[in-house]
């Protein structure tokens, strides 16, 4: 497939557990973004990568959230000590570059439920 791929599509876990969410961007896209969408809201920015480095992590809510993109392609969003308030849909997007105003192309998201 040519689109952004996110796995798993659904994740249910208990409060306090650690979770990893994976994003596989469109091939050749150097910019990758993570957003969080709560029920009835628009996506909210978390972090963006240009290549391997996190160029802007100003949207991460606290130090329980961390993301990596070690080879400049696949990215993993990691959440430690999950809380019920972390329940949301986590969306990944990619674009050719970040500097030009290219459209961001979104995956279908991971629906995270913290019990």
């Amino acid at each position: 497939g040519a689109g952004v791929s996110q796995t798993p599509s659904n994740k249910v876990t208990e409060k306090g557990k650690y979770v990893e969410l994976r994003c596989d961007p469109i091939s050749g896209h150097t910019a990758l973004y993570w957003y969080r969408q709560s029920l009835g809201q628009g996506p909210e920015f978390l972090i963006y990568f240009q290549g391997t480095g996190a160029a802007d992590d100003s949207g991460l809510p606290n130090d329980r959230f961390f993301a990596v993109r070690p080879e400049g392609s696949v990215s993993t969003l990691k959440i430690q000590r999950t809380e019920r308030g972390d329940s949301a849909v986590y969306l990944c997007a990619s674009s050719l570059t970040a500097t030009d105003p290219q459209p961001q192309h979104f995956g279908d998201g991971t629906r995270l439920s913290i019990l």
């Binding site: 952004v4 996110q6 910019a31 973004y33 009835g40 809201q41 628009g42 996506p43 909210e44 920015f45 963006y48 160029a55 802007d56 100003s58 949207g59 969306l91 997007a93 970040a98 500097t99 105003p101 459209p103 961001q104 192309h105 979104f106 995956g107 279908d108 998201g109």
Partner: protein, 115 residues
């Protein structure tokens, strides 16, 4: 700071009638504006963007949007609505003077096209 407002939570329109979904924005620099559509349990699909130039932008599936700088608006329009247009629509903005490449989204407008 950049922000977007979508003043209508829901818009209802009869099939075949023209539709408008409203969006206003606030930025300190020049705006890059985007419209996305979201179907249930799916990610966001790009419809169209305004970067510079002609104020009337044409996009996918017959949608268009009009950029109005004096009113800081970017309303989405379609001359003749289809039942299949029923979905959630998001307006997003990026401030070219902000030094960051994140998008800020509105809360979304649910469009219902009635047969």
């Amino acid at each position: 700071a950049q922000s977007v407002a979508q003043p209508e939570d829901q818009v209802n329109v009869a099939e075949g009638n023209p539709l408008t979904v409203k969006c206003t924005y606030s930025v300190s620099g020049n705006p890059y504006l985007f419209w996305y559509v979201q179907y249930p349990n799916r990610g966001l699909q790009f419809l169209l963007k305004y970067i510079t130039g002609d104020n009337l932008v044409k996009g996918s599936y017959g949608f268009e949007a009009e950029f109005n700088k004096s009113q800081t608006s970017f309303h989405l329009k379609k001359p003749s609505a289809l039942v299949s247009d029923s979905a959630l629509y998001f307006c997003a903005v990026r401030d070219d003077g902000a030094g960051s490449y994140q998008l800020t989204f509105g809360k979304g407008t649910k469009l219902s096209v009635i047969p």
